[in-house]
Symmetry: C2
Subunit: 107 residues, 2 copies
DNA sequence: CACATTCATAACTAGTTGGTTATGGGATCG
DNA sequence: CGATCCCATAACCAACTAGTTATGAATGTG
Protein backbone atom coordinates (compact mmCIF):
# COMPACT_ATOMS: atom_id res chain seq x y z
CA UNK A 1 0.00 0.00 0.00
CA UNK A 2 1.52 3.25 -1.13
CA UNK A 3 1.53 5.84 1.61
CA UNK A 4 0.08 9.27 1.08
CA UNK A 5 3.24 11.27 0.34
CA UNK A 6 4.38 8.50 -1.95
CA UNK A 7 1.47 8.94 -4.32
CA UNK A 8 1.93 12.72 -4.27
CA UNK A 9 5.66 12.63 -4.97
CA UNK A 10 5.19 10.13 -7.76
CA UNK A 11 2.35 12.09 -9.32
CA UNK A 12 4.28 15.35 -9.20
CA UNK A 13 7.60 13.90 -10.32
CA UNK A 14 6.62 14.09 -13.97
CA UNK A 15 7.06 17.56 -15.55
CA UNK A 16 4.04 17.29 -17.84
CA UNK A 17 1.86 16.31 -14.92
CA UNK A 18 3.23 19.04 -12.69
CA UNK A 19 2.65 21.56 -15.46
CA UNK A 20 -0.97 20.49 -15.75
CA UNK A 21 -1.46 20.73 -12.01
CA UNK A 22 0.22 24.15 -11.87
CA UNK A 23 -2.02 25.40 -14.62
CA UNK A 24 -5.09 24.21 -12.74
CA UNK A 25 -3.80 25.94 -9.61
CA UNK A 26 -2.97 29.20 -11.33
CA UNK A 27 -5.70 29.51 -13.92
CA UNK A 28 -8.47 27.54 -12.23
CA UNK A 29 -10.81 24.97 -13.69
CA UNK A 30 -10.07 23.76 -17.22
CA UNK A 31 -11.53 21.30 -19.70
CA UNK A 32 -9.41 18.51 -21.12
CA UNK A 33 -9.34 20.29 -24.45
CA UNK A 34 -8.18 23.49 -22.80
CA UNK A 35 -5.42 21.67 -20.99
CA UNK A 36 -4.35 19.83 -24.12
CA UNK A 37 -3.93 23.12 -25.98
CA UNK A 38 -0.41 24.26 -25.19
CA UNK A 39 0.51 21.12 -23.29
CA UNK A 40 2.70 19.90 -26.13
CA UNK A 41 1.37 16.36 -25.87
CA UNK A 42 -1.64 14.53 -27.28
CA UNK A 43 -5.08 14.56 -25.73
CA UNK A 44 -4.90 10.91 -24.62
CA UNK A 45 -1.63 11.65 -22.87
CA UNK A 46 -3.27 14.54 -21.04
CA UNK A 47 -6.20 12.34 -20.07
CA UNK A 48 -3.87 9.72 -18.68
CA UNK A 49 -1.97 12.31 -16.65
CA UNK A 50 -5.25 13.64 -15.31
CA UNK A 51 -6.13 10.11 -14.29
CA UNK A 52 -2.93 9.83 -12.28
CA UNK A 53 -3.47 13.23 -10.67
CA UNK A 54 -7.02 12.27 -9.79
CA UNK A 55 -5.82 8.98 -8.32
CA UNK A 56 -3.45 10.98 -6.12
CA UNK A 57 -6.31 13.22 -5.04
CA UNK A 58 -4.72 16.29 -6.59
CA UNK A 59 -7.56 17.10 -8.98
CA UNK A 60 -11.33 16.84 -9.09
CA UNK A 61 -13.38 16.22 -12.20
CA UNK A 62 -16.83 17.52 -13.04
CA UNK A 63 -18.76 16.27 -16.04
CA UNK A 64 -20.84 18.78 -17.92
CA UNK A 65 -22.35 17.71 -21.20
CA UNK A 66 -19.68 16.16 -23.31
CA UNK A 67 -16.78 17.89 -21.66
CA UNK A 68 -15.02 17.17 -18.39
CA UNK A 69 -13.83 20.03 -16.22
CA UNK A 70 -10.83 19.47 -13.97
CA UNK A 71 -9.83 21.59 -11.00
CA UNK A 72 -6.98 21.49 -8.50
CA UNK A 73 -7.55 20.18 -5.02
CA UNK A 74 -4.83 22.09 -3.24
CA UNK A 75 -5.68 20.56 0.11
CA UNK A 76 -4.14 17.39 -1.28
CA UNK A 77 -0.74 19.04 -0.93
CA UNK A 78 -1.06 18.99 2.86
CA UNK A 79 0.79 15.68 3.37
CA UNK A 80 3.62 17.05 1.29
CA UNK A 81 3.82 20.18 3.41
CA UNK A 82 3.69 18.02 6.53
CA UNK A 83 6.50 15.85 5.26
CA UNK A 84 8.81 18.74 4.48
CA UNK A 85 7.88 20.17 7.86
CA UNK A 86 8.86 16.96 9.61
CA UNK A 87 12.17 16.88 7.77
CA UNK A 88 12.86 20.45 8.81
CA UNK A 89 11.59 20.19 12.34
CA UNK A 90 14.53 18.03 13.19
CA UNK A 91 16.84 20.58 11.78
CA UNK A 92 15.19 23.21 13.95
CA UNK A 93 15.35 20.85 16.93
CA UNK A 94 19.06 20.57 16.49
CA UNK A 95 19.24 24.31 16.05
CA UNK A 96 17.37 24.69 19.35
CA UNK A 97 19.90 22.40 20.95
CA UNK A 98 22.61 24.65 19.66
CA UNK A 99 20.81 27.68 21.07
CA UNK A 100 20.47 25.97 24.44
CA UNK A 101 24.13 25.18 24.37
CA UNK A 102 24.99 28.80 23.61
CA UNK A 103 22.71 30.00 26.40
CA UNK A 104 24.32 27.68 28.87
CA UNK A 105 27.69 28.89 27.73
CA UNK A 106 26.60 32.45 28.37
CA UNK A 107 25.85 31.82 31.99
CA UNK B 1 17.80 21.60 -18.33
CA UNK B 2 15.78 20.23 -15.48
CA UNK B 3 14.53 22.95 -13.18
CA UNK B 4 15.20 22.85 -9.48
CA UNK B 5 11.90 21.41 -8.20
CA UNK B 6 12.01 18.83 -10.98
CA UNK B 7 15.21 17.26 -9.67
CA UNK B 8 13.85 17.28 -6.14
CA UNK B 9 10.52 15.69 -7.00
CA UNK B 10 12.19 13.04 -9.10
CA UNK B 11 14.75 12.26 -6.42
CA UNK B 12 12.13 11.99 -3.70
CA UNK B 13 9.59 10.07 -5.79
CA UNK B 14 11.31 6.77 -5.07
CA UNK B 15 10.41 5.21 -1.70
CA UNK B 16 13.85 3.72 -1.06
CA UNK B 17 15.47 7.05 -1.77
CA UNK B 18 13.02 8.95 0.39
CA UNK B 19 13.57 6.45 3.21
CA UNK B 20 17.32 7.03 3.02
CA UNK B 21 16.87 10.79 3.07
CA UNK B 22 14.43 10.59 5.97
CA UNK B 23 16.85 8.50 7.93
CA UNK B 24 19.61 11.02 7.32
CA UNK B 25 17.27 13.80 8.45
CA UNK B 26 16.09 12.03 11.58
CA UNK B 27 19.19 10.18 12.71
CA UNK B 28 21.88 12.44 11.30
CA UNK B 29 25.04 11.51 9.46
CA UNK B 30 25.46 7.87 8.39
CA UNK B 31 27.97 5.76 6.55
CA UNK B 32 26.97 3.79 3.47
CA UNK B 33 27.23 0.58 5.44
CA UNK B 34 24.99 1.97 8.16
CA UNK B 35 22.42 3.03 5.62
CA UNK B 36 22.57 -0.32 3.84
CA UNK B 37 21.81 -2.13 7.09
CA UNK B 38 18.04 -2.19 7.31
CA UNK B 39 17.50 -0.65 3.91
CA UNK B 40 16.36 -3.95 2.46
CA UNK B 41 18.41 -3.46 -0.70
CA UNK B 42 22.01 -4.16 -1.68
CA UNK B 43 24.89 -1.83 -0.98
CA UNK B 44 25.37 -0.87 -4.65
CA UNK B 45 21.70 0.06 -4.81
CA UNK B 46 22.14 2.31 -1.78
CA UNK B 47 25.23 3.90 -3.31
CA UNK B 48 23.32 4.62 -6.50
CA UNK B 49 20.45 6.20 -4.60
CA UNK B 50 22.92 8.32 -2.67
CA UNK B 51 24.38 9.44 -5.97
CA UNK B 52 20.96 10.61 -7.14
CA UNK B 53 20.29 12.38 -3.85
CA UNK B 54 23.67 14.07 -4.04
CA UNK B 55 23.00 15.15 -7.62
CA UNK B 56 19.77 16.74 -6.41
CA UNK B 57 21.67 18.55 -3.67
CA UNK B 58 19.78 16.72 -0.94
CA UNK B 59 22.81 15.11 0.69
CA UNK B 60 26.45 15.90 1.32
CA UNK B 61 29.25 13.36 1.45
CA UNK B 62 32.37 13.41 3.54
CA UNK B 63 35.17 10.92 3.00
CA UNK B 64 36.98 9.64 6.03
CA UNK B 65 39.38 6.82 5.56
CA UNK B 66 37.71 4.11 3.62
CA UNK B 67 34.20 5.02 4.56
CA UNK B 68 31.96 7.76 3.22
CA UNK B 69 29.65 9.64 5.55
CA UNK B 70 26.47 11.10 4.14
CA UNK B 71 24.33 13.79 5.73
CA UNK B 72 21.10 15.53 4.77
CA UNK B 73 21.15 19.03 3.34
CA UNK B 74 17.72 20.14 4.44
CA UNK B 75 18.11 23.56 2.87
CA UNK B 76 17.74 21.77 -0.46
CA UNK B 77 14.07 21.33 0.35
CA UNK B 78 13.51 25.07 0.07
CA UNK B 79 12.45 25.04 -3.60
CA UNK B 80 9.92 22.36 -2.76
CA UNK B 81 8.49 24.46 0.05
CA UNK B 82 8.43 27.46 -2.26
CA UNK B 83 6.58 25.49 -4.92
CA UNK B 84 3.88 24.27 -2.58
CA UNK B 85 3.65 27.80 -1.27
CA UNK B 86 3.10 29.19 -4.75
CA UNK B 87 0.42 26.61 -5.43
CA UNK B 88 -1.35 27.57 -2.22
CA UNK B 89 -0.90 31.30 -2.48
CA UNK B 90 -3.24 31.35 -5.42
CA UNK B 91 -5.79 29.50 -3.43
CA UNK B 92 -5.51 32.17 -0.75
CA UNK B 93 -5.66 34.87 -3.40
CA UNK B 94 -8.94 33.49 -4.63
CA UNK B 95 -10.09 33.23 -1.06
CA UNK B 96 -9.27 36.92 -0.64
CA UNK B 97 -11.25 37.66 -3.78
CA UNK B 98 -14.16 35.79 -2.27
CA UNK B 99 -13.82 37.81 0.92
CA UNK B 100 -13.78 41.00 -1.09
CA UNK B 101 -16.87 39.88 -2.92
CA UNK B 102 -18.64 39.13 0.33
CA UNK B 103 -17.65 42.51 1.73
CA UNK B 104 -19.01 44.29 -1.32
CA UNK B 105 -22.19 42.29 -1.02
CA UNK B 106 -22.53 43.40 2.58
CA UNK B 107 -22.55 47.03 1.66
C1' DC C 1 53.26 -8.09 1.89
C1' DA C 2 48.87 -10.60 2.20
C1' DC C 3 44.33 -10.04 3.56
C1' DA C 4 40.03 -7.81 4.83
C1' DT C 5 36.81 -3.90 4.62
C1' DT C 6 34.33 -0.20 2.55
C1' DC C 7 32.48 1.86 -1.09
C1' DA C 8 31.75 2.97 -6.14
C1' DT C 9 31.25 1.53 -10.76
C1' DA C 10 30.15 -1.60 -14.63
C1' DA C 11 27.16 -4.64 -16.96
C1' DC C 12 22.96 -6.65 -17.23
C1' DT C 13 17.78 -7.44 -16.61
C1' DA C 14 12.88 -7.15 -15.54
C1' DG C 15 9.41 -4.00 -14.87
C1' DT C 16 7.53 0.58 -15.21
C1' DT C 17 6.32 4.67 -17.68
C1' DG C 18 5.28 8.36 -20.79
C1' DG C 19 4.32 8.89 -25.20
C1' DT C 20 1.98 7.57 -29.61
C1' DT C 21 -2.11 6.09 -32.90
C1' DA C 22 -6.56 3.85 -33.22
C1' DT C 23 -11.06 3.36 -31.61
C1' DG C 24 -15.45 3.85 -29.34
C1' DG C 25 -19.10 5.94 -26.46
C1' DG C 26 -21.90 9.82 -25.22
C1' DA C 27 -23.52 14.54 -26.02
C1' DT C 28 -24.72 18.27 -29.29
C1' DC C 29 -26.07 20.17 -33.67
C1' DG C 30 -28.26 20.43 -38.36
C1' DC D 1 -31.14 10.38 -38.00
C1' DG D 2 -26.45 11.49 -39.57
C1' DA D 3 -22.48 14.12 -38.61
C1' DT D 4 -19.48 16.17 -35.33
C1' DC D 5 -17.22 17.07 -31.13
C1' DC D 6 -15.15 15.81 -26.59
C1' DC D 7 -13.11 12.67 -23.91
C1' DA D 8 -11.53 7.99 -22.20
C1' DT D 9 -9.69 3.60 -23.12
C1' DA D 10 -6.96 0.07 -25.62
C1' DA D 11 -2.91 -1.52 -27.68
C1' DC D 12 1.55 -0.86 -28.56
C1' DC D 13 6.49 0.86 -28.22
C1' DA D 14 10.90 3.17 -26.93
C1' DA D 15 13.13 4.80 -23.05
C1' DC D 16 14.07 4.89 -18.44
C1' DT D 17 14.61 2.90 -13.74
C1' DA D 18 15.56 0.29 -9.79
C1' DG D 19 17.30 -3.64 -8.66
C1' DT D 20 20.79 -7.46 -9.11
C1' DT D 21 25.78 -9.70 -9.32
C1' DA D 22 30.59 -9.00 -10.37
C1' DT D 23 34.56 -6.41 -9.93
C1' DG D 24 37.96 -3.12 -8.68
C1' DA D 25 40.10 0.85 -6.16
C1' DA D 26 41.43 2.58 -1.95
C1' DT D 27 42.17 2.15 2.82
C1' DG D 28 43.18 -0.19 7.01
C1' DT D 29 45.18 -4.49 9.62
C1' DG D 30 48.03 -8.63 10.99
Amino acid sequence: MASSPDLLFKALADPSRRAIFERLCLDGEQTVGGLTAGAGISQPAVSKHLGVLKQAGLVLDRHEGRQTHYSAQQRALAPLVDWTGRMNRFWEARFDDLEDLLKRMDQ
